[in-house]
Amino acid sequence: MGGNDPVLKMVGICKSFLGVKALQNVDFQLRAGEIHALMGENGAGKSTLIKVLTGVEKLDAGEIYLNQKRILPKSSLEAQALGISTVYQEVNLCPNLSVAENIYIGREPKKMGRIDWKEINKRADEALKKLNISIDVTKPLSSYSVAIQQMAAIARALDISAKILILDEPTSSLDEKEAEKLFEVIRQLKAKGLGIIFITHFLDQVYEVADRITVLRNGKLEGEYDVASLPKVQLVAKMIGKDIDDLSNFNKEKKEISDRKDKTAFVRTKGLGRTGTIKPFDIEINKGEVLGLVGLLGSGRTETARVLFGIDKPDTGQMYINEKQVHLNSPKTAVKKGLAFCPENRKTEGVFGDLSVAENIILALQAKRGAVKHIKRKEQMEVADKFIKLLNIKTSGPDQLVKNLSGGNQQKVILARWLATNPELLILDEPTRGIDVGTKTEIQKLIIKLANEGMAVVFISSELEEELRCCTRMAVYRDKEKIAELTGDKMNQQYIMQTIAGGQKDAE
């Protein structure tokens, strides 16, 4: 498949954002006529690597070679001109324009000074036929499914004569049949000698279509492997766990919880699901325990949390709190019922940058009490001080604006906010991301302590060690579905990774 010299070679790429090292000395190679999967969890550096390659971000150090010639694209336009095209997950086309126009906009063929629509439609038709798609190209893009829209994006990328095609999470919005069709197209392109970078977190798909895999972890190159010689379990280990040989469990702290008998089911769901987001699931969340949601990025853990908390409305199934059916149609209702949710995306859904630390901390508590029962300044300060100490939040005082805090401390403020509401169920989605190691451990200990004191805790983390350290029970997710529940002995790295990889499908 293709020549021996790689069509793309990236050497020693380094990139930092505000002191955080997003990429450290990463190498990457792509051969012509190859489908190369780029994998890694959130924050691993995949998107940064691609942004550097396509000129959206400027690299700090390192070299890029395209067909042995050194390049440094400064914008996505330049990258496109060099032959590097990207099809993004959100299909960055314009939904209101026709399919044909989306493929040709910015490069419209002209006749006598005006745009030649006949020609555009004709060429677009041909371009799509090459991908085995036969549709009415004059209809607006939005009248077609995401799968077709993606094809249009690919057609556009190819038409700009691509040497390298980057597909960023292309199958996230596709069903099985559509994904299959996409793979056919990709294989076709591979046969024509195109180099394809395929970013995804769907394990099965990687094994179905990719030739080689590069895994990034925490900004560093974990390794480059041939698909044929890397079993799934090992791949999972590379992404989220330590080497399988190094199994360490931290059972000490958790022994207390496991021994406790009074576990009352606080929340129970039956067939709760939301089309396209999370398949219907049954789950029991008990007080006094830490339930971990385990799985790769995009497997449905965050989606589960959002449905539980009322941010996204379910369209099937029921939810019970203390055996009484509830309809959580907004976070407000959830908060009143004693739920709390620390979201994954703190920038858009967590932090109020222009408000003070104290205000950020008491906000959920205030929302719970309602607008009338105002929390007086004295109590505000008390609560704020309490949590500043408890979580060791580095701030010049409770009146400092949160936007001036570091990312890790902002995260602590949000955590404090939810702890302040004294919830009965606390859902934590990646609470330790971007926090220093010392505080990570503090928070993990805190989580166990809370469970000991009777709180129900749901814990989502991309660090498997963390989950193993804190959780007494685990629910395993894959491809937007809860596939298994693990307790006791089965909660070890190897078993978990095998379950995720699909080796074992456990009944509950």
């Binding site: 996505s76 336009l77 496109q80 993004y88 997950q89 959100e90 960055n92 086309l93 314009c94 939904p95 209101n96 324009l97 126009e101 906009i105 910015g106 419209e108 005006r114 745009i115 004059t138 209809k139 607006p140 939005s142 009248s143 499914s145 995401v146 556009r156 999470e169 996230s172 919005s173 089309t275 396209g276 987001t277 995009g298 937007k480």
Partner: protein, 329 residues
């Protein structure tokens, strides 16, 4: 045999045209004199300025912006024209060219403030609105009547159509502007970039389209159209008066929205705005023919229509986006 498929993107336009025909039909039924070619042509004569304004407004709404200074630019241009021609004695044609330039600069400044200093379009054009009114009053508080021969000749000239029916030169200008605008919108890169930006500015950026330049050009175009509309309006009124054009901006926005252009941008046809204006004109005629209704009813009727169309638009797009959400991860 080609199948006649109802392409969904033309539906809003068809609704608008049907609405216009309906209104006209109501008029024809109630008032026998309504159903005459001249009454129809009068719509073009009386609303020529509004047609031009709505054309400019269409482009602005298409990129997802708004320009509420258009009415006051019309007023300013009227006043300035009157002053230059009557009091300064400038050549009328030179005056018109100067006014077009004024409008273009007006729009250019607003566009730059919006794009490069990231100020909200509403605030900038609101300031433009007040600046224009004040400037017009600064030139003269009292009405300046245009007695200049050229202006009067142009104003009274009848372009014969069929038999004794006629339209004004202003209407011709409006129709020519319409044709140019349709060409711009559908046959030039600029026009297509406008639609693309309205559909998704982020995508447009990623696709390499000249977003900043296009947006500034759109506001410049709007200013130019406002100036042109002002010139046509000065033919119509033959005077400069500081209270001319009050509320015109809403009429322009309403016509454009009724004409099927989405407030959120990306969807709409220039020709639709024409029908939006004609519909407004018919409603005004209906109220006038009735004779018993306060002229303010027109304003209320237009505002009500705008409201209805806005709510319908919002409901339709809300449902659309919910569907999309189900598909995306």
């Amino acid at each position: 045999m080609k199948k006649m498929q109802l392409n969904s993107k033309y539906v809003p336009l068809i609704i608008t045209i049907l609405l216009f025909i309906l209104m006209f039909a109501i008029g024809a039924v109630r008032y026998p004199t309504f159903l005459s070619l001249q009454v129809f042509l009068n719509l073009f004569i009386d609303n020529a300025y509004l047609i031009i304004l709505s054309i400019g407004m269409t482009f602005v709404l298409l990129i997802g912006g708004i320009d509420i200074s258009v009415g006051s630019v019309v007023c300013l241009v009227c006043m300035a024209s009157a002053h230059l021609v009557e009091n300064v004695g400038m050549n009328p044609y030179l005056t018109m060219v100067l006014m077009i330039l004024l409008g273009a600069v007006y729009g250019l400044v607003q566009g730059c403030l919006i794009q490069y200093f990231k100020m909200q379009p509403f605030i900038v054009t609101l300031a433009g609105l007040f600046f224009g009114r004040g400037a017009a009053a600064w030139i003269s508080i009292e009405t300046i009547n245009i007695t200049n021969k050229t202006y009067n000749d142009i104003a009274h000239y009848r372009v014969k159509i069929i038999g004794n029916n006629f339209i004004s030169i202003g209407s011709v200008i409006a129709l020519v502007t319409l044709v140019i605008a349709i060409y711009l919108a559908h046959y030039t890169k600029f026009g297509r970039a406008v639609y693309a930006i309205g559909g998704s500015e982020q995508s447009a950026l990623l696709m390499g389209l000249p977003v900043a330049r296009t947006k500034v050009l759109v506001y410049t175009l709007s200013g130019t159209c406002s100036a042109l509309a002002g010139i046509v309006f000065s033919f119509y009124m033959l005077s400069g008066y500081s209270l001319h054009g009050m509320g015109m901006e809403l009429d322009a926005i309403a016509s454009t929205v009724i004409g099927g252009t989405l407030l959120t941008g990306g969807v709409g046809y220039v020709i639709g705005s024409l029908f939006g204006v004609l519909t407004q004109g018919v409603i005004q005629n209906l109220i006038m023919f009735d004779g018993t209704l306060n002229s303010w009813w027109t304003r209320i009727a237009i505002a009500a229509l705008l409201c209805i169309f806005m709510i319908i638009q919002k409901l339709l797009t809300n449902r659309g986006s919910v569907q999309k959400k189900g598909q995306v991860a």
